[in-house]
């Protein structure tokens, strides 16, 4: 008998998974990431308030006072607008990584109107000019790469990245041009500020929130119900099909990027006109990159993206509070936590699309492969594979969520599926540095889950 060397890990594509299962996997991944961060931070902080104190600070930083809550909504609105701007381009598979630059250009154009016209012309007229200038500046910054992409197929992701830095230095130039004696920072302008729609932080944030809601609704309809939206999706799926269907690909690329840039410019208008009344090189708050993650994690669906951008802002605002409470001097901690969440979120997509089989008998040179690559006619083989597929799917939501199963499970149910999960999770572990800590912590919860699963199976 010829000895066949079987690969230890065998990966197949899954049937499309029901929505609730995939949501469970995603929530589980995020939860694991959150718990890892909590353990690390509460263990290493100079002024630690413990594991539960961490979550307390997180929530109080985001929701603690009315002001904080409105700030959270405002940041969510801004981030969501940027993400929506990017998503129209991403649907077309155009990697617009230039959100930062487009927002900055919107900020700069708005600040220019305020600086040169504020106080000299009637305020409503200046507001109108600010709006037009911001939108135009953002659109121009996005359409330059789009034109070259459409006509010469220039690499758009690097082009837009470089445009970010050109915009950044343009802002730096104008700030030092306007205030040559200053320290490079611009004082807030007092003229031509957009009016506050109420009292306190709520009034200041309300305009942004309203704009974000309107933009979300419009983009949702634009992508879902209009001919333009259909053309964008079609180009994203296949340029050749689109061309064959009579769509002018170049025209759509340029038109879509004008829209994308214009939305980013609108964010710049809100940032300068309504919120900060000045411009600085870090005003974009890296929203161009965060927006990409939001768009990706939200599956390019505007409604899910609204939830995701709320969550990301909840984390970053909450982490700022954690930094203060726990005695860290650097605010960059929130980037680490958010980055870790991205890794887990990106990683867990795999378990939604693919299924992993483990082959434990590989070393013995077996006659009968358990998971043959071709369709095997041997009864035993196909039967076993079938049963396993069923069982793996049944316990699918548990995959990726639990780590470090208790030893007892293995002896109670010496089935291969259990081992599959066990090793799959172990394979998942190197992704995070805190696997060891996590395993210990999750042992408590995993016992509960095992009991529940046993009930389901009976």
């Amino acid at each position: 008998m010829e000895r066949i060397k079987e690969p230890f890990i065998h990966i197949t594509k899954r049937e499309p998974m029901p929505l609730w299962k995939s949501l469970c996997i995603r929530f589980g991944a995020v939860l694991i990431a959150l718990i890892i961060c909590a353990i690390f931070i509460s263990a290493s902080a100079p002024n630690s308030k413990g594991f539960f104190g961490y979550f307390g600070s997180l929530f109080s930083g985001a929701f603690g006072t009315e002001r904080r809550f409105w700030l959270l909504l405002q940041q969510t609105g801004l981030l969501l607008c940027v993400a929506l701007a990017l998503v129209v381009a991403f649907r077309m598979k155009f990697w617009n990584l230039g959100g930062n630059g487009q927002v900055l250009m919107g900020c700069l154009a708005c600040a220019m109107c305020m600086y040169y016209l504020g106080g000299k012309t009637a305020d409503p007229l200046v507001w109108l000019l600010m709006l037009i200038a911001s939108i135009a500046a953002g659109a121009i910054w996005a359409v330059i790469p789009a034109i070259f992409k459409a006509f010469f197929n220039t690499n758009e992701s690097l082009f837009t990245l470089m445009m970010n830095y050109v915009a950044l230095y343009l802002v730096a130039f104008f700030v030092s041009h306007w205030y040559p004696e200053g320290t490079g920072a611009m004082p807030p302008l007092t003229d031509a500020n957009l009016p506050s729609l109420g009292s306190g932080q709520a009034g200041r944030s309300l305009l942004t929130v309203i704009v974000a809601i309107v933009v979300t609704a419009l983009i949702y309809c634009y992508l879902r119900f209009t001919k333009h939206g259909y053309e964008i999706s079609l180009i994203g799926d296949s340029k050749n099909t689109a061309r064959y269907a009579g769509i002018s690909v170049k025209k759509v690329i340029i038109r879509t990027l004008i829209l994308s840039g214009a939305l980013c410019g609108l964010v710049g208008f809100l940032l300068v006109g309504s919120i900060n009344h000045m411009v600085s090189t870090s005003m974009d708050g890296n929203m161009g990159f965060t927006g990409i993650m939001v768009a990706w994690m939200g599956k390019f669906n505007p409604l899910i993206m609204a939830g995701i951008s709320f969550f990301i802002n909840f984390l970053s605002r909450g982490m700022a509070q954690v930094c203060t409470d726990f005695g860290f001097t650097s605010e960059a901690l929130s980037d680490i936590v958010v980055g870790l969440i991205y890794f887990f979120f990106i990683g867990c997509e795999f378990f939604i699309v693919y299924k992993v089989h483990f082959n434990f008998k590989k070393h013995h040179g077996r006659e009968e492969p358990a998971f043959s690559m071709s369709a095997s006619s041997e009864d035993g083989t196909s039967e076993r594979t079938g049963v396993e597929r069923e069982e793996t799917e049944k316990s699918a939501p548990a995959e990726g969520m639990e780590a470090g199963k208790s030893e007892s499970t293995k002896t109670q149910q010496p089935k291969e599926t259990e081992q599959i999960q066990q090793s799959e999770l172990e394979a998942d572990a190197p992704e995070n540095e805190g696997a060891a800590v996590k395993a210990g912590e999750d042992k408590k919860t995993s016992r509960k889950k095992n009991a529940r699963k046993a009930m389901e199976e009976n």
């Binding site: 990584l97 990245l161 445009m163 993650m293 990706w296 980037d335």
Partner: protein, 325 residues
């Protein structure tokens, strides 16, 4: 003028590290947009390594400090590279998105790490001493060799290391079986797999080693060019350098040997603003813009000219799944 060229070289090698690292990664078919974050990680790790063997030590050994710096920079950068490799090779996630996540994480981590772990009391002096004395120690007696000595022999060890790595990478890519296999993996992984090349192994090893090399770029910026002086905006600066390094890959047509020249040109452009005298304060940002504008022009020109030889590896950016046929 001699000093300008010398500075251009010592700055350019930062690009060279990043660029060679990205070339190796791209040759395996993976576009790693995490290079800026990875270079930041290298800076953080390098600072930690140097701190460990200089801060509080009575007579720190220079050789040890340099080796520890290089080692830790490569370990930190390689670790983030390994995360990227795991997510994109094994879990087949989108390379652009994963790369950006790496950048966000790496930049945040470095900013946090430098502030909270490395730059505690007394360490700054130890780092700047080490940077000046160990990393920038040049061959004695070269001061008297005129312009040649100034331009080519006045550098610290990292500059020569960068050029050695670039040359080795060229030789490996063009003249060895490993290089041939790697290029096959990047061009068409399915075919490479059919021939019996271990596609996953090649991808992992070259993504991680590419990341480790790029990480040295961060170390080179902090310890080499800045003489160990770690400012508060170091992460933002390295991020900008990282994006330029990725763009430089296209500029140098995926050839490490050309990258040596290209990175020196970029080094010149980058330090132009701080070297030209007689300009006003407000004009500096306009000069800072130049490398980015040049990159844009190069991108446009290469896309218009578009030779067969100047194309990226054919399967760049695509995940390979064996059963997708």
């Amino acid at each position: 003028m001699d000093v300008f060229f010398a500075n251009a070289i010592s700055f350019g090698v930062i690009f060279l590290f990043g660029c060679v690292g990205e070339i190796l990664t791209e040759k395996s078919g993976h576009l790693n947009l995490g290079i800026p974050g990875i270079m930041c990680m290298g800076a953080a790790g390098g600072c930690l390594g140097v701190k460990l063997c200089t801060a509080g030590v009575a007579n720190p050994s220079g050789v040890l400090a340099v080796i520890m710096g290089i080692l830790f920079a490569m370990i930190f950068a390689g670790a983030l590279g390994a995360v990227y490799a795991f997510l994109t090779v094994s879990l087949r996630s989108n390379q652009n998105v994963t790369g950006l996540a790496c950048t966000i994480f790496g930049v945040g981590f470095t900013s946090f790490f430098l502030n909270n772990v490395v730059l505690t009391e007394g360490v700054s002096t130890a780092l700047s001493n080490a940077g000046l004395k160990f990393f920038n120690a040049h061959i004695p007696g070269t001061e008297n060799l005129g312009w040649f000595g100034t331009i080519f022999l006045s550098h610290g060890i990292l500059v020569y290391l960068a050029i050695i790595i670039a040359v080795v990478a060229t030789v490996v890519l063009r003249y060895t079986k490993v290089g041939l296999n790697l290029r096959a993996v990047g061009e068409n992984p399915a075919t490479a797999d059919a021939v019996g090349i271990n596609v996953t192994g090649y991808k992992y090893s070259f993504i991680i080693s590419g990341a480790a090399i790029a990480g040295l770029g961060g170390l080179c910026y902090v310890m080499g060019y800045m003489n160990g002086i770690v400012g508060s905006t170091v992460d933002q600066t390295i991020q900008g350098i990282g994006w330029l390094s990725i763009a430089l890959v296209i500029f140098t047509l995926w050839k490490p040997a050309l990258a040596i020249l290209g990175s020196i040109v970029f080094g010149m452009l980058y330090i132009l603003a701080s070297r030209i005298t007689g300009i006003s304060f407000e004009q500096i940002p306009l000069l800072n813009m130049i490398p980015y504008i040049v990159t844009i022009l190069v991108l446009i020109v290469t896309s218009i000219v578009g030779h067969r030889e100047t194309q990226p590896p054919a399967s760049l950016g695509l995940s390979y799944f064996r059963e997708d046929r």
